[in-house]
Symmetry: C2
Subunit: 387 residues, 2 copies
């Protein structure tokens, strides 16, 4: 018998039925008026979610493609940028930059630790010649389930008087965590369709400030597909320069409607509450969180595998018996942690069910926990905030 599935990896996320049905709509001409209206609606809706008046560009690509686009449009070989490195995805940005001959000053932290505003401040202070062109970091590192405080970092960068741009990877945080592109002074924010927007993968979306546009004028890196100026020019005609992933735009329009109906602040609050319930349940079961206290992500919770429980056996039971798929640890964290995605379409009973399934699976593998512990903690969290 078919049953409800819980895709609780840190993205792609569960796609709501309202969006799923839009994906099977017949295609339209991407050079016609219907598409132009669709694109305009999407861009206007995205500006509300990014909280920006900056330009929004789109690419048929994964989120990693969006990261690459920022490097090749803004910099030249020999330029220097600061890159926070504390997980697979933040380190990927440094890797991309180096491939293109851009020098990176890495703020290397243990995976699981956040990047602090003072660390950025210190690096910029040492750059007396103001050579650093940009500071790049993720709002949310899905590798380890930590979030960086972009508001504080933006504030300190403004106060420093250093001209470096602030480039933020918001792939796994936009439309989930509070984010204020304009107020926080974020020059380039890069996201993708398969996380907070609750869509299949294949579309990256990027906001670009006036200051960032100036840098594109100086960039000497070769580019064609990722060329921001070409995309902006074509988007002024409400089109994209090459064949766009129309189906994802159908879904994006629906996603933006859903977010608008709930209200973006309510979306943020919901994510915070679901994350709190997840963490409380984990702790109540005697599990330990991987992320630095105070910086735990509200979109993904990373938990140490308890001693004696093998991740693969655990995740097999979770999937085969309960239909729940969680993420494991990446690279050096493989087998050491489990990661629960709770972003996008995530609500009370999802957390209740998923944490219950985790409890039962651990119990089955011999982990000592009183049955009902997770659901008690989840319920208590909800009642504390909801009533």
């Amino acid at each position: 018998m078919e049953r409800r599935k819980y895709l609780q990896i840190p993205g792609p996320t569960n796609v709501p039925n309202r969006i799923l049905t839009t994906l099977s709509k017949p295609l339209i001409n991407h050079r016609g008026p219907e598409f132009e209206e669709l694109l305009t609606n999407c861009v206007n809706g995205l500006k509300k979610v990014f909280r920006t008046n900056n330009d929004i560009l789109m690419f048929p690509s994964s989120g990693s493609g969006g990261l690459e686009s920022a490097i090749v449009n803004l910099f030249s070989p020999g330029d220097t940028i600061v890159v926070a490195c504390h997980g697979l995805f933040s380190e990927r940005l440094a890797l991309i930059a180096e491939r293109y001959g851009v020098n990176t000053i890495k703020i290397q932290k243990e995976w699981g630790k956040a990047i602090k505003a003072e660390e950025i401040e210190e690096v910029l202070k040492q750059d007396v010649d103001k050579n650093i062109k940009a500071v790049c970091l993720p709002q949310n590192e899905t590798t380890s389930g930590i979030s960086n405080d972009i508001e504080s970092i933006g504030k300190i960068m403004k106060e420093s008087g250093h001209p470096a741009l602030l480039i933020v990877d918001v792939v796994s945080s936009l439309a989930c965590l509070p984010f204020e592109t304009d107020t926080w002074g974020v020059d380039v924010a890069i996201t993708a369709s398969q996380k907070g927007f609750m869509l299949p993968p294949g579309l990256s979306m990027i906001s670009i400030s006036e200051r960032a546009w100036k840098l594109t004028e100086e960039s000497k890196l070769p580019k064609w597909y990722w060329d921001y100026k070409a995309v902006r020019k074509k988007m002024e005609e409400q089109q994209l320069p090459y064949t766009p992933p129309t189906t994802l735009l159908f879904g994006l329009k629906e996603s933006l409607d859903i977010l608008e109906e709930e209200g973006i602040e309510n979306v943020w609050n919901r994510h915070a509450l679901m994350a709190q319930a997840t963490r409380n349940a984990a702790k109540a079961m005697g599990l330990f969180l991987f992320a630095e206290p105070g910086y735990e992500s509200d979109t993904v919770t990373a938990i140490y595998m308890p001693e004696g429980v093998v991740f693969k056996e655990f995740s097999n039971i979770l999937k085969s018996k309960y239909g729940v798929v969680v993420g494991g640890g990446l690279q050096r964290l493989q087998g050491k942690i489990l990661r629960i995605g709770h972003m996008g379409s995530i609500h009370e009973l999802d957390v209740y069910a998923v944490m219950g399934a985790i409890e039962m699976s651990l119990f089955e593998l011999g982990y000592k926990v009183e049955l009902g512990t997770a659901s008690k903690a989840v319920s208590e969290t909800f009642f504390k905030y909801l009533i």
Copy 2:
């Protein structure tokens, strides 16, 4: 009342219901066994359509992204390649190459004329030092509705003894026109999801020969997202290096099943017959084909707008009264031609209906044609070949 829609632009094409329904399937973990099986099935199916034992790579991108990937993986700044230039898409490849500092020897032809094997032979013969790294051209130029004879070109290149690779843009021809990657000696063939595969846009697919892999070892152009070697390595684990457009792979699996059930030779023959019927109907109505005789494309028919009929008025009637969307002329051909896409899911009654709608729309705008002319020509074509 909702009615049947005819998206007869030269791609994206009409998506069959069997594929549409797969697009709204809930997502799966792209790092789990279900995905691995899906990817393996897709790659095996694609090899049958490409008619190759070469490696097949995939990118979350439009077809143009696939073109860029070939340039940045195979060449270095200062390398020289031959590029056929006889339409927007073939000229785009030259543009991309030049952006990356690759020199291009252009075989420039009037839009609407095909590139002949002897022209390629001549250019290679003049290259006594054998500096030319590759010959690049499209099998099908959708700008003008012409097809190049890749079989002859591949043959002449082999016979010439020149080591240049043969790179073919099969975006608007694969799974429509006969194509034999291995037999014809095609080193790199690039296609995308939204044409013969009858899927939404957002996935590019590329076959790469052993000779081409050797060239990737010498390439000095910077790359990360498009890096063939990184993609091949990850595909050996039945995964893709970054988040793949899973939904399109659901659809691709279904598309490959559909093509397999019909048989690829039957698919080719069907396209040839539908194209023949389209051309016969156009000619019977007194219209003139744009493409060089003998090289008319079997996936898109370009027709001169008859004197006194304005394309925009014509296409408006066609769309609003009959639900048929056709393409117009691009750039310098704007207003001068109309382009009818007949690729992918195209069958007898589609051609019958579409050509009938074109006839009625032209008639309404004062064009002199006896009503029923198109359908008579379409029917006669079918009966000639079918009975």
